[in-house]
Amino acid sequence: MSVAIVRQGDYLIASVQSDLSDSEVLRLRDDLVDRVGRLRLRGIIVDVGALDVIDSFVARSLRSIAVTARMRGALTVVVGIQPDVAIAMVQFRLNLEPLQTALDLDEALAVLDRAGHWEGEDGG
């Protein structure tokens, strides 16, 4: 499988190394959602910087990762969408709502930290 998943504190970072087949996408989704619940994590970062194409299936799977992970208490951020990929996606009217996107890993970590603080504030 061409996805490296590492854990960083309360977050999981999944780096997609190359274009994924449909079954690999599904396996990635199940794997991430399972770990989030098991390890009681707060966030998932999916790095798609190596992808040349994000088709409707991948987009839907990313959304479904976000929605399911959300239900298990974690926020998902997609990072590293390439300019060409972004153009193709808007032209095919694929969107990642309600997914968060960020430019790179630093930015994604900041987004997750921020979300944590706000939730903490809301809760307290």
Binding site: L96, T101, L103
Partner: protein, 298 residues
């Protein structure tokens, strides 16, 4: 119908065989009377008030070159040299405002001048005159077409170059401060340019790690549905890459158009003018920073 065809072909072939030996004679004649015919041509150009932007000396020297090229082309049958010369000439005279009709006019005048001199020379022998004209006319027409087309092609090349230059010039992506880009759009937005803008902006977002981009369209007079969609797409693509886009300077006319077109601007953040857009952008960036540095929950 098929029956009538063969004789025509034969006739043409016959005529072709007939005229070939006459060309050298024609060329010889044109070389001998070069001075006189050239003078006549210049006179007719001046009478017709063509090439008024050029001085008489310039006209004379260009006319000489064209005349010689013309005769060479008649002799060799190859338009290559003439074509090159015509391109070169066009390159020199286009910036000075010489019009297409003038160029075509002077070439046709030369054709007329030469044809008339042939009439005079061969007026006693109408048979020979016909054969000479058979040789002369196709070649002369071909030359006229070559010069005209070269001129127009050169003109189109200049226009294309200028369009490209305008396109390059008018789409800068500027970094105002850390993580904030401005894209001031000025002039006419067509689909191609809108697409190019999107590519440039996304590339700039990546290289500058931009958090917010302000797209200012104060300088855009009109907008159509394609361009509006490109703008929406640009905003969405920026967001996919993790940057928020703010659109500023929508004139009331453009705002009206967008509403009439039914473009969904719900996803877009718009602010009245560039100043307001920058203030809003600062706010977004400061807010993000404040949250980042707010170590513990309050």
């Amino acid at each position: 119908m098929p029956r009538s065809e063969p004789p025509v072909v034969e006739q043409a072939a016959e005529a072709h065989e007939d005229v070939t030996p006459l060309l050298p004679e024609l060329v010889e004649y044109l070389r001998q009377h070069r001075t006189q015919l050239r003078k006549e041509w210049v006179r007719r150009i001046t009478d017709a008030q063509l090439l008024r932007v050029m001085t008489p000396e310039e006209i004379f020297s260009e006319v000489t070159a064209v005349y010689d090229n013309y005769v060479d082309t008649l002799e060799t049958g190859s338009v290559q040299t003439l074509q090159d010369y015509a391109r070169d000439l066009s390159e020199r005279i286009i910036p000075r405002g010489v019009e297409t009709h003038e160029v075509l006019g002077i070439v046709l005048l030369l054709r007329d001048v030469l044809a008339r001199s042939l009439f005079v020379k061969y007026q006693d022998d109408s048979n020979l005159l016909n054969r000479i004209l058979d040789a002369y006319e196709p070649a002369a027409n071909r030359i006229a077409v070559t010069v005209g087309v070269s001129f127009v092609e050169e003109r189109e090349r200049v226009i294309r170059e200028q369009q490209e230059a305008i396109r390059e010039l008018s789409t800068p992506v500027l970094q105002v401060r850390d993580r904030l880009l401005i894209l001031p759009i000025i002039g006419v937005l067509d689909s191609q340019r809108a697409r190019q803008l999107m590519e440039q902006l996304l590339a700039a977002i990546q290289t500058n790690r931009a958090k917010v981009v302000v797209i200012d369209i104060t300088g855009v007079a009109t907008i159509d549905i394609d361009v509006a969609n490109h703008l929406v797409q640009t905003v969405e693509a920026s967001r996919l890459m993790g940057a928020s886009a703010i659109i500023t300077g929508l004139s009331s006319k453009i705002a009206q158009t967008l509403v009439d077109l039914g473009v969904d601007l719900g996803m877009m953040k718009t602010v009245g003018d560039l100043q307001g857009g920058l203030e809003e952008a600062e706010r977004l960036i400061v807010k993000a920073k404040a949250r980042d540095s707010a170590g513990e929950p309050a």
